[in-house]
């Protein structure tokens, strides 16, 4: 905890003229973080993940001096997208491409106007409180009402060539007005020899009758720790299509909280985690149905190779008196190695009678019958395994309704698979 205290004090000293209210929020948030502490295995919601590595490294907040030499071109940009590019926590307007119709502001500016979007300082999630106390990067992206955005906005948050173990607490606020449609790709990448810690929080509001496609790609460096929270609030008849693809970082935890703020909302949450070696990926999803006629679907898949381990905790709560709720929750896991471990815990908490809910989870190895079938057609064992795993992943990738993003992610998954299959 000492190193976090030092970083917090340094941050306040570094920005002495910051907005007073924001400083107060930071202090309250840091007190909350200190109260909660880094989660231990005694806490139910955190029990399958070891966060102690975060205490063992003296992470320091990124500063202006940590801006590396900028890349000539950004290889990870997906074709036909608008781009927001951030490197080591620093926004690079010259490398970004955002049209005037999209409002991008700093969190400080947005905080003054929309304080209600920054209330994580009292979060029961210690990492969200930590983010609120030290948020030092990110952006607020606002799509006005009645706007149909043709191209996705890709946000690349890169960590490159760092000279010390750094930490950053990016805060993203996405606000989609009424009757609008947008696609946002939140993309984390890393390339460095040192460990680093990224702790983003994304607060997403989708107003009435709007559609947001939110694609998230976690492709951090293998030494990284990536602890994230995505919080969604859906208005009347609002629609969320979210796909989270995670393959990077040694430690990954993603808390997804989804609330319906009115009737008729529809949320589809999907995830694919492809991990190997000693990677550990933990996803914790809570969907709270407290308004009528809302639907939610969750489909999370893990492909685990070597000694990797995964955790899926999904909870759907249907509050008392809520009518016409439909909720489906599915978790499927493919173990490619006898040493890989998966912990899965799909839960339904239903306090209403007028519901249609289902949940299920399967964990298994490659289907020997399917493998034999493909081999009996002359397909080599390696190719057959590749076909089966690609087929397993496809169900998630198919949820991506933008062709450029889908192609990009499909290539990533295929490349990952090829690299893993060399060792099978």
């Amino acid at each position: 905890m000492k190193q976090f205290q030092k970083q917090f004090d340094d941050l306040l000293a570094y920005w002495p003229d910051e907005n007073q209210e924001l400083r107060e929020l930071r202090s309250t948030a840091f007190d909350q973080f200190k109260n909660l502490g880094i989660p231990t295995k005694q806490l139910e919601d955190w029990q399958f993940t070891d966060f102690s590595s975060l205490k063992k490294i003296d992470y320091r907040l990124s500063r202006a001096k940590d801006l590396p030499q900028l890349p000539d071109d950004i290889t990870e940009q997906i074709p036909n997208t608008y781009l927001l590019f951030m490197i080591n926590g620093h926004y690079q307007p010259d490398l970004s491409d955002i049209p005037e119709s999209i409002s991008v502001t700093t969190n400080l500016e947005n905080f003054k106007a929309n304080k209600e979007l920054y209330l994580d300082h009292k979060s029961s999630n210690p990492f969200s409180a930590l983010n609120a106390s030290m948020m030092n990067s990110g952006a607020s992206v606002t799509i006005d009402s009645n706007v149909i955005l043709e191209k996705p906005i890709q946000i690349i948050y890169a960590m490159m060539d760092i000279s010390d173990p750094l930490m950053n607490h990016p805060r993203f606020v996405f606000q989609i007005g009424h009757n609008s449609q947008a696609t946002i790709v939140e993309h984390y990448i890393g390339s460095t020899d040192l460990p680093y810690f990224i702790n983003p929080v994304s607060n997403v509001t989708i107003k009435n009758n709007s559609v947001l496609n939110h694609f998230r790609i976690e492709a951090e460096d293998p030494l990284a720790s990536h602890i994230a929270a995505s919080n969604y609030l859906l208005g009347a008849d609002a629609q969320l299509n979210s796909v989270s693809i995670s393959s990077g970082s040694k430690l990954f935890r993603h808390n997804i909280n989804l609330n319906f703020n009115d009737k008729g909302g529809n949320a589809s949450l999907n995830g694919l985690s492809t991990i190997r070696e000693d990677q550990h990926h933990d996803q914790n999803i809570i969907i709270d149905h407290s308004h009528n006629n809302c639907q939610s679907q969750q489909l999370f898949k893990y492909i685990l190779s070597e000694k990797s381990s995964g955790v899926f905790n999904g909870k759907v709560v249907v509050q008392e008196g809520t009518k016409q709720t439909e909720a489906d929750q599915t978790n499927k896991n493919l173990l490619l190695s006898p040493e890989a471990i998966m912990n899965t815990n799909p839960q339904l908490e239903i306090y209403s009678e007028d519901v249609k809910c289902s949940h299920g989870s399967t964990t298994g190895q490659i289907d020997a019958e399917a493998l034999f079938y493909l081999q009996s057609r002359g397909i080599s064992k390696t190719k057959a395994i590749e076909l089966i795993i690609n087929g397993f992943a496809k169900e998630i990738i198919e949820q991506i309704n933008n062709e450029d993003v889908k192609t990009y992610i499909n290539n990533r998954v295929t490349n990952w698979l090829e690299s893993v299959l060399i060792d099978v």
Binding site: D367, A370, F372, Y373, Q375, K381, L387, G391
Partner: protein, 246 residues
């Protein structure tokens, strides 16, 4: 072509095949008949090389090569095909993609150039018609959500596409109505020629009526107890299997 000598095989430590001898020559159609549990499918599975079927004694050669030393995919590339009794569903794996991969593996094995996606689709549009499947089948996942009849047609379609020398048809007639049965029999008959051989496994003579087998073998308790021509199948239809049991 296929020479099986004194084959003994077991599954989970239990001996299922207890000394089978069988020779299949080019162009011949052999039918293996027998009750459930007599070892028919075990025979099919050891020819194709399924892991959990263990050969404890005897030999199988295919065109003079020891088949039992070969991996399943290499047996397929050498020209052996099995139409499965229960074809497995493989979610997410596109039928056309899978079948092109299989065809290209074979072409490559024979030193030929691979077929591109466009030419392959042209070929497949004709082939699907011959087994009475809808073209949309090509873009679906392998056997996923297929009816029993569609699965069996899919097996025959794969046979027609991969053009094996030796086709093992494991209970291809089970679960088919009479129209589907005729379509499949017709597909197989059109495919027959002097170089292609068949080993048909069945417990009814229904399919055989349409296929004119050269030999019928009756398998009881892991042994061939009687061989004959189509007349034997007719007798079995009338009298059952009990008269052959010792």
């Amino acid at each position: 072509m296929l020479i099986i000598k004194n084959i003994h095989a077991s599954v989970d430590g239990k001996e299922i095949l207890k000394g089978i001898d069988l020779s299949v020559n080019p162009g011949e159609l052999h039918a293996i008949m027998g009750r459930n549990g007599s070892g028919k499918s075990t025979l099919a599975n050891i020819i194709t090389g399924r892991d959990n079927f263990i050969v404890t004694k005897g030999s199988i050669t295919y065109n003079g090569i020891n088949l039992l030393d070969m991996a399943t995919e290499d047996r397929a590339l050498a020209g052996i095909f099995m139409s499965f009794q229960y074809p497995v569903a493989i979610p997410g794996v596109n039928n056309a993609y899978f079948l092109r991969a299989a065809l290209n593996a074979k072409l490559k094995h024979h030193g030929k150039s691979e077929v591109n996606a466009a030419d392959f689709m042209r070929l497949m549009r004709e082939k699907v018609k011959s087994v009475n499947l809808d073209e949309s089948y090509l873009s679906r996942a392998v056997n996923d959500g297929f009816s029993g009849g569609e699965k069996k047609r899919n097996e025959i379609l794969q046979m027609l596409t991969l053009e094996p020398e030796l086709s093992i048809l494991d209970e291809t007639d089970s679960g088919l109505d009479i129209d589907a049965l005729k379509t499949i029999a017709e597909g197989i008959n059109n495919f027959r020629n002097k170089n292609r051989s068949f080993l048909t496994i069945t417990h009814y003579q229904r399919l055989l009526q349409y296929m004119h087998p050269d030999y019928i073998h009756v398998l009881i308790d892991g042994k061939i107890v009687k061989s004959g021509d189509i007349e034997l199948a007719n007798q079995l239809e009338k009298k059952g299997y009990s008269w052959l049991e010792s």
